[in-house]
């Protein structure tokens, strides 16, 4: 008799969503000067959650000016010890309000509550705690005896981990003495706006954190603003390139964390049951909306059939549906636009002759959904092996020898992450030396920690976030 799990939805009543939101500038919520608004929707139901202000040129000017004034007068001169107090306070407030923030994230983004509750929010708090600890110890971080902040940081973040990406950007910037203007993605602004409220609750001096909302145009106005000293962007390689072109020749500092097409490599001596879990976690975590997702599975030929069979059996147990249900594993695709991109790339996989298999799960009638999908018979030449799909779609390739595994893993314009599965320690080290990826996981995947630097090479960007290395993006020592 089947064990049917009864619905176990997390209560929506812990969040209080306003019907409309202004821009958070200089410690206050203000309307956009143009009065233009756009809507943010729940991707699982297409229900409109709130009207959001679209910041124009005048608003960006105001936000940058507020950040400049706060930098010159308050935050820049403040001692590291005092900055730390604010950051610790923010970290604690995030923890206290984590249930509310997790529900809000799930409503706006579509990710399962299990992930926003157990992964996103604990990491958000951890990033603030970690960087709060650095604020008064920066002279020991290896950036010279007197490392100084850079100034005003313009930060543009994506929709896949809205609050976590905010934490990755704001925590180190503030710890190092910079002030920020941050723009969340247009489809997921709500947790950033809730964070603005946390800044007020923490009595953070006005102007230290400014949150402006809008789409690509707002982002362009922000990163190209002449009074910005530092730009940090996480998002697509396409936009990252445009930002780099725009900033060429200026002395604005830039760090980019862009796309990826990570290889997850399984050798025949791997712990197979855990490797299968690692593959699932690598590509189906957060609906595959993860820049470091293990979207290319490289299997040693001798175990390929066995692993694909196990993987299919495992995908059959994934629970897709209401993201607020505590038992949901796979939530909604974040937007209609992203769903269209996934469908387009999946169609190209069919057209180019790869074999598609999707987990047998029922998709809800409303909202944006895509079932966990595996392509076998994929070659390096297929689009689905080269382009970032950013969805729950795995391309399976095979290899015969370790050298071939390295060659195939590296044969991509990206270089953000990679995974190795083998019980042989020497092979892990041998592979890690040769894989051109910023993060290499061994016998695990998609593990994050604020103390561990994250970032890519090649078209996956440059600069590191997290750890001692990440502080460098927000400091300018004399000898640096």
């Amino acid at each position: 008799m089947p064990f049917e799990y009864a619905p176990a939805p997390e209560s929506r009543s812990v969040v209080d969503i306003a019907s409309s939101y202004g821009l958070f500038i200089n410690g206050d919520f203000v309307d956009a000067s143009s009065g233009i608004t756009f809507k943010t929707v729940n991707p699982a139901t297409e229900e409109v959650l709130a009207d959001i202000s679209e910041a124009g040129a005048a608003d960006v000017d105001r936000a940058v000016a507020a950040a400049r004034a706060a930098y010159e007068n308050v935050w820049g001169p403040m001692s590291g010890r005092d900055r730390a107090k604010y950051l610790f306070r923010i970290a604690r407030l995030v923890q206290e309000r984590s249930r509310e923030l997790a529900v809000l994230e799930t409503l706006d983004n579509g990710k399962p509550i299990r992930e926003s509750r157990d992964v996103d929010l604990p990491l958000v708090a951890a990033h603030f705690f970690y960087h709060a600890g650095w604020a008064d110890k920066l002279e020991h971080a290896g950036y010279g005896a007197h490392p100084r902040p850079i100034g005003v940081a313009a930060q543009v973040i994506p929709w896949n981990f809205p609050l976590l990406m905010l934490a990755w950007k704001i925590a180190p910037a503030l710890a190092c003495g910079n002030t920020v203007v941050l723009k969340p993605a247009e489809t997921t602004p709500l947790t950033a706006l809730a964070f603005a409220d946390i800044c007020r609750q923490a009595d953070l001096p006005p102007g230290v954190v400014n949150i402006i909302t809008g789409a690509g145009d707002t982002g362009r106005l922000l990163v190209e603003h002449p009074d910005v000293d530092k730009v940090a962007f996480t998002g697509s390689t396409h936009v990252g390139k445009a930002i780099q072109r725009a900033l060429a020749g200026t002395d604005t500092r830039l760090s980019l964390e862009l796309g990826g097409k990570a290889a997850n490599v399984i050798f025949d001596d791997a712990p197979l049951d855990q490797a299968v879990e690692g593959v699932v976690n690598g590509i189906f975590f957060n609906q595959g909306h993860v820049c470091c997702a293990g979207s290319r599975l490289l299997l040693q030929e001798s175990i390929a059939e066995e692993v694909v069979d196990s993987l299919k059996r495992r995908l059959g147990t994934l629970r897709l549906g209401d993201p607020l249900d505590k038992n949901t594993d796979i939530g909604a695709i974040n937007s209609a636009g992203q769903l269209a991109r996934i469908v387009d790339l999946v169609d190209s996989g069919d057209a180019e002759g790869a074999d598609r298999w999707s987990a047998p799960c029922e998709l809800p009638d409303r909202g944006y959904w895509f079932p966990p999908t595996i392509f076998t018979g994929v070659t390096q030449a297929h689009r689905i092996a080269r382009e970032e799909i950013f969805g729950p779609v795995l391309s399976v390739l095979t290899f015969r020898t370790p050298d071939e595994a390295v060659e195939k893993a590296n044969n991509t314009p990206y270089g953000l992450s990679a995974g190795i599965w083998t019980e042989k320690g020497s092979r892990i080290l041998w592979m890690a030396e040769r894989l051109r990826a910023g993060v290499v996981w061994a016998n695990t995947f998609n593990r994050f920690d604020p103390a561990s630097p994250f970032g890519g090479y090649k078209e996956s960007g440059f600069g590191r976030e997290g750890g001692i290395q990440g502080l460098g993006a927000y400091l300018s020592g004399e000898d640096h």
Partner: protein, 314 residues
């Protein structure tokens, strides 16, 4: 798994072939296995699903007393409870079996009749430190007393010394002595220590003819844990794929609350599927778990918690 399924012949008692086979099984990454059970531990089982799981858990209990101070009176009282766990509520199902020492099997059988199974621990339980003749005599004694399930222990010393063939042959001999009685093979995973050993011992027991593989005696800490049970469930799943035979799993020792029991059912459901969610293929070896299941059941029926005085202590 297909690699195992495609093996032409499973190994026999030949020491070399057993060793090659067991050491050729894929390893288990402890961190990954723990991560998997932690993730499944967050499943939220509510309302009708919880009520269903509680009743199923009751039907899967091997109600156990394995103390030096056991008396016929104690065993008879426990047997009454096994047959009718909640005297105030006839809708509560009987447990799967009572589990006692071999010398009390006859007392238990007389008390339960054929309403529940009688399991007896045997083979010099819990340490297994006796000669094969003594162990077989222990088994025959229990069966003569009326036990229809035998819970044997493996020789952990021989297993850890790599003498797999010895362990294998002992299980084969005990299975033969069991006749039609069901054989549960206790791996005592708390003494095997690594999950690699748990996987190998599981396969060894299944190859030798176990009907059930069981985590623990309950006399060693840790007893049953979710990671160990996960690995054993993976083993019975792979053994089914290789041979078509269904082997049961019994998690014994340390499972005291309904919440824990439901976590184990989730583990079964999402590892081997609902085919195993029957008392013939999954059991809890426990003494105190039953009362918590009954309290939770009363709570769900009445909407409020009663208290320990509202369930019987037998």
């Amino acid at each position: 798994m297909t690699r195992l399924a495609s093996i032409d012949s499973l190994p026999d008692a030949n020491p070399g072939s057993l060793r090659r086979f067991l050491h050729g099984l894929p390893g288990v990454d402890e961190v990954g296995a723990r991560g998997r059970v932690d993730a499944l531990g967050t499943r939220s089982i509510k309302n009708e699903a919880k009520a269903w799981a509680i009743d199923l858990s009751i039907r899967m209990v091997d109600l156990t007393t394995l103390e030096g101070m056991d008396t016929p009176g104690k065993v008879r009282a426990m047997c009454a409870k096994a047959v009718r766990p909640d005297p105030t509520d006839p809708s509560v199902p009987s447990v799967a079996a009572v589990c006692v020492y071999g010398d009390l099997a006859a007392t238990a059988r007389a008390a339960v009749g054929d309403r529940v199974h009688v399991a007896a621990v045997a083979t010099a339980f819990p340490s297994g430190r006796a000669s094969l003749e003594v162990k077989l005599a222990d088994v025959r004694d229990a069966i003569d007393g009326g036990a229809d399930e035998i819970d044997m222990v493996i020789d952990r010393g021989a297993f850890l010394a790599g003498e797999y063939a010895r362990v294998f042959e002992e299980i084969v001999a005990v299975k033969e002595a069991c006749g039609t009685a069901h054989l549960k093979v206790i791996l005592e995973t708390g003494e095997l220590r690594t999950l690699d050993n748990v996987r190998r011992a599981s396969w060894l027991a299944m190859l030798a003819g176990a009907d059930f593989i069981k985590t623990s005696t309950g006399k060693v800490t840790p007893a049953a844990t979710p990671p160990v049970t996960l690995v054993m469930l993976e083993a019975v799943r792979d053994f089914r794929d290789a041979t078509g035979r269904l082997i049961g799993v019994k998690a014994a020792g340390g499972i005291r609350t309904s919440k824990d029991a439901i976590k184990y059912l989730v583990l079964v459901n999402e590892t081997v599927g609902d085919q195993w969610l029957v008392p013939d293929l999954f059991r809890f070896g426990a003494s105190t778990l039953l009362n918590d299941l009954l309290l939770q059941r009363q709570r769900m029926a009445t909407g409020h918690y009663s208290g320990p005085d509202y369930v019987t202590i037998d």
